[in-house]
Amino acid sequence: MIRVLFIAILTASIFSGCVSKPKIHPNTSFIKINLPKNIEESLISHDITLAINMPTGTAIKSSKITYIDSNNLRKNYAYHRWSNFLTLQIQEFFVHSIAKTNLVFDVAKAQNRVDPTLILEIDISEFAQYIDKNENSKVVVSGSMRFLNPKEKKALFSKTFIYEEKMENLGVNELSLAYDRVFALWLKDTLKIIDNLGESYAR
């Protein structure tokens, strides 16, 4: 009798697995840095071959989306990621968007076999979303950038930057749009610097 009872309980416990709630992790979704839609072609094309180095900084050596809460603790989004490592995305963003403007003769990644006349180095110190107690949020990208003469290994121009964009609501879509706005501003400033350098510095 005890054996029959044991078998019945065992069978019930085995088949109870069929009705239990599955513990499956939700699928991860990805976002990326988008090129600005309204990139204007430059009227002047400077005789510069620009190489963009792989950006450095620990804040961007990951594909996790980081936010900083009201207690100043760094955390990551659970179900969303950058579609690629930020360091690669930022480099590609500048290569493609500057190429689209036709502001310079050529623009390439530093890993390419091109002999550059100007090198852009980027170092990122902060790349995160800040959320305060009242759930007001903003994205912050800060760091430094410099343009180098590859022959003399001398900085032609150097500056630090900090870009902040407020978010109207919390959420990944709003976050992605805020980062897009930051990159549009950053690109605009970078193009101005290249234009100024182009007038004084050429191959």
Partner: protein
Amino acid sequence: MEHRVRYVFLGAFVFGLFLAGAWAILWQSKYAHNESFVYFKVQTAETVSGLNEKAPVKLLGVSVGEVSTLYINPNDSESVDIIVKVKAKTPIKEDTYAIIEPQGITGLSYLLLEGGTRGAKLLKVSNDKDDENMGTIFTKPSLLSKVDKSFESIVEKIELLLESANKVLESSHSFVNENNMKYVEDILKDSAQATKSLANISKSLASKEKELDLITNNIIILEKEIIEAAKAVKNMSILGGDTMQSVSSSAKSVEQTMVLLSEKASEGMFDISSVAKDAALPLINSLYEMEILIGQLKSFIQNLENSPSDLLYKKSMQAPAPGEEL
């Protein structure tokens, strides 16, 4: 007079009613039938719960008798002897076997006889249920018993499986212990240092460009001097006569070689910095990728330290960010 007649009829009626009742009882208990029975013994090592005295005995589904008595074999405490009463003409063969089958959901059971091939001999019959030498019918396990055994086997296998899983977990735990983590961390640190040194070497190679150019220029100057020396040797050889002719031809070949070298040098064949740069480019790409990989490995190890069981089962769930929706 009339009273006495009535009592006789009444007595006859009561007597007749008694006889009819007795006949009905005998008819119902089948005493009326002149049917003879024989006895067999059924031996089983299974539990006989649900099988009682008077439980039907069926041969191929036909009711052929009933269970007479059941008792534990006094000589073997693990087996049960069932004495069955079967109609005399029932063909119980030596290869007939018995199965205890349940009767629906009531919990009662009956004895099903099966087997009994045509060619087999008839089993020894006994007219006395206490006969010690009566024919014995052996049993086969019932469906419930088979299921029971199967479950026992499954349970044993599950136990074995759990034991193996436990061993695997223990071994994985020993693999992911603190010491090994430390070693892996040390290896990663060393790799990072090696990567930095390689990057420094490639940078220093690129920075030595000027020095390399200087070396190339010196080689060219040296080459010119060698050519002049060769010319002097040539003159000497002319002056020195036939014995110096071989020296002269050697000098010529040296001169030609030097001219060729000079041409190649001017074409940039010995531009070491350019060669070094070409060779270093794929290395630099690999270093970038290695740097990213090391970052990922560090993150992975950190997660593993927080939750070692994630190596086999993804258990740890991260809390979503504010406003994060699936």
